[in-house]
């Protein structure tokens, strides 16, 4: 059997399914068969779309693209655990979560096509914040948003995604500490995929990430991020605590970045192929699919049907992406201020004038 990814060492993560798909926990995480099937379908769609995006980038249709292969369970499981009023603050790698949250993938990919920054989709309507590049900064936004929910007495929470590397930033800490002090209804969701570009988790921190929570006075949880059921359950419980006024939770989901950091990256420079092929033995989709098959929730026919549907869906997205023109140049000026100063109006007309 292939060895576990390096950064999974240490405390055993919580699990429902063992890597081979066998049960090691209670599979009743509160999802009916339809939901379970939807979960797998999202994961399959996400993977197929992710690969398409890499192709699109190679074909010059997208700018640098950060793939997430291997992280489908972490993203889909956590995003499905949230309610419609909950708000997600993502990094740049959460396309799978965006799909679950109903963000239009064509609009989402406008970001990577270079037609708009931040949130080309409507972050308010989708309750999915803008794509965020400066690592860890969005965690603070998640906490601030949660403070706002608490002030409003709304029964909802925020969830901020971030990577293992992002936990080294001051903003991770300030966010976590503020969350603790204000008892903010928020979930700090770390996808520990073993790498921050070329730096392995062990060179990012000498501790275990989930253990940081205690120092902030709230629960920290280590979950197998490639076990979608466990991810779902833990996130759901964290959200439930938030709804109940019990404050934040830090979740460290152990997963693995199978691909490159982005299409601009060459992982051959810093990690061996063995590690990657070993990690493929822990694939989140294979694990969940094999259990669903064994449990009789899906069968090969269904899977074949999905495959065809997903091909079509991805083709449509592909076409939508390619059809996107560059934005009108005046957009550059139109949202900097609600009420632009006159000097900016002059600059705007200079651009439009030629």
């Amino acid at each position: 059997m292939a060895s576990e990814p390096h950064h999974w060492r240490g405390t055993e993560p919580r699990r429902v399914l063992a890597p081979d798909g066998s049960l090691v926990g209670d599979p009743d995480v509160g999802l009916g068969p339809d939901d379970l099937r939807a979960m797998l379908r999202f994961m399959l769609l996400a993977r197929r779309l992710d690969r398409e995006c890499i192709a699109l980038q190679r074909q010059g249709e997208l700018t640098v693209y950060p793939g997430f292969e291997g992280q489908e369970a972490a993203q889909v499981g956590s995003a499905m655990a949230l309610g419609p009023d909950d708000f997600v603050f993502p990094t740049f790698r959460e396309l799978a979560a965006a799909l679950v949250r109903g963000v239009d993938p064509v609009q989402y990919l406008a970001y990577h096509r270079g037609t708009w920054h931040g949130g080309p989709y409507d972050p308010r309507a989708t309750r999915f914040g803008p794509i965020c590049i400066p690592v860890a900064t969005q965690i603070v936004h998640g906490v601030g948003y949660a403070m706002g929910l608490a002030l409003d007495g709304v029964r909802a929470c925020s969830l901020a995604y971030f990577g293992d590397g992002s936990t080294s930033e001051g903003d991770f800490h300030e966010a976590a500490n503020l969350a603790g002090v204000f008892g903010a209804p928020t979930v700090l969701f770390c996808q520990n995929n073993g790498w921050a570009i070329s730096v392995p988790t062990a060179r990012q921190t000498a501790g275990e990430i989930w253990k940081r929570a205690e120092g902030y006075g709230f629960p920290g949880i280590r979950v197998d991020g490639n076990d979608v059921l466990a991810v779902y359950r833990e996130t759901r419980e964290a959200a439930a605590r938030a709804y109940a006024g019990e404050g934040p939770t830090l979740i460290e989901a152990l997963t693995y970045r199978v691909g490159a950091h982005s299409t601009a990256d060459d992982p051959g420079r810093y990690r061996g192929e063995d590690e990657v092929s070993d990690a493929r033995g822990f694939d989140p989709i294979a694990r969940f699919r094999s259990w669903l098959l064994a449990a009789g929730h899906i069968d090969d026919d269904l899977l074949a049907g999905w495959e065809a549907e997903i091909e079509e869906q991805v083709l449509t997205i592909r076409e939508g992406v390619i059809a996107q023109p560059p934005p009108p140049v005046e957009w550059m000026f139109d949202w900097t201020y609600a009420d632009p100063p006159s000097a900016l109006a002059v600059q705007r007309s200079e651009v439009l004038g030629g």
Partner: protein, 319 residues
């Protein structure tokens, strides 16, 4: 001025229940300069609260709160202590409206005691305006008197866009009668605080009072310098700047920040662009020096003095 700022916060909290006031020591103690005195008692600790020492967290939380529909008025305890928040301010506070194509406003007010002149410790006398004026998406105001302080702070809070409010700490305790009202010129409008036709002195913050002293001294010698209080540093009131130079032909810019890429550089460039043909002498900059803000016992040698200002005005007039 402290009373005017305090009144502005109180009235804003009373008028709009989405307004929040938070920062280090702003609650129970009422702020190290007492600008938030009494607000927590009056509005409760839900709306006026202390935070941990976490400037990036404070600015970032304000961003998240804006997503949730709250209007944050945050305090950075001193000028230099806004630097840890710079990433949040530049990357998010300033850009979020653009990043979301106008879907998410950032009605955030970032107040800070600014500039020097109070024999403060290190990092307590910085003039950080260049960082914020250069950053697209922010507005920056620097009131010099209680009336402006009240009005500009209230306008800042009401503004859908983020506004940095630089409060000249050296003027906090200056005695001045003022009617506190929202009526009056908005953000972006400079004020001619003394008439004159020999030259225009452009300035802001605590240096306004000093420039008025200088103008008074010059007037004794028959040199009548106009003094313009810029009040808003971003966007600059280029119209007033250009008009004054057209009318007086000569200009001096006075500020505490170091010279190189201090606001004086932008004012000068703006004069050259908008009033070149009327300019009869080089623009002179009377500013802090290009060194770290010095210790208390010699800060008066760093800050523009009446002597340096009058000398510069005489220079441009004699040119």
């Amino acid at each position: 001025m402290v009373a005017a700022l305090n009144a502005a916060l109180r009235d804003a909290l009373a008028d709009d229940d989405r307004v929040l006031v938070f920062g280090e020591d702003v609650g129970r103690s009422g702020g190290v300069f007492r600008v938030t005195d009494g607000l927590q008692v009056e509005f409760g600790d839900r709306r006026v609260f202390d935070t941990p020492i976490s400037e990036s967290g404070i600015a970032g939380a304000a961003v998240g709160l804006a997503f949730a529909g709250w209007r944050s008025v945050v305090e950075m305890q001193f000028d230099a202590f806004s630097y840890p928040a710079l990433e949040q301010i530049v990357d998010h506070v300033a850009k979020m409206r653009e990043r979301t194509r106008g879907r998410v406003d950032m009605p955030i007010t970032i107040r800070m005691p600014a500039f020097g002149g109070i024999k403060g410790k290190e990092h307590h006398g910085e003039s950080p305006e260049t960082f914020y004026v250069h950053t697209a998406g922010l507005k920056v105001v620097a009131p010099s008197n209680p009336g402006d302080a009240y009005r500009l702070l209230r306008l800042a809070i009401a503004d859908p866009d983020p506004v940095i409010v630089l409060e000249p700490k050296a003027r906090y305790w200056a005695k001045a009668e003022a009617t506190l009202t929202l009526e009056g010129p908005g953000i972006g409008i400079a004020a001619t605080v003394r008439e004159g036709d020999a030259a225009t002195i452009f300035t802001y913050g605590a240096m306004v009072a000093r420039c008025l002293d200088a103008a008074e001294a010059l007037a004794g010698d028959g040199v009548f310098a106009r003094v313009v209080d810029l009040r808003t540093l971003s966007p600059l009131d280029t119209e007033t700047i250009a008009r004054c130079v057209r009318e007086t032909g000569r200009a001096v810019v006075v500020h505490e920040a170091p010279k190189t890429l201090g606001l004086g550089a932008e004012v000068t460039a703006c004069i050259v662009e908008e009033a070149f043909d009327f300019l009869e002498a080089p623009v002179r900059r009377v500013t802090g020096y290009d060194v770290p803000y010095p210790p208390a016992t010699i800060e008066h040698r760093y800050l523009p003095s009446v002597r340096r200002i009058t000398a510069a005005v005489r220079d441009v007039v004699a040119y």
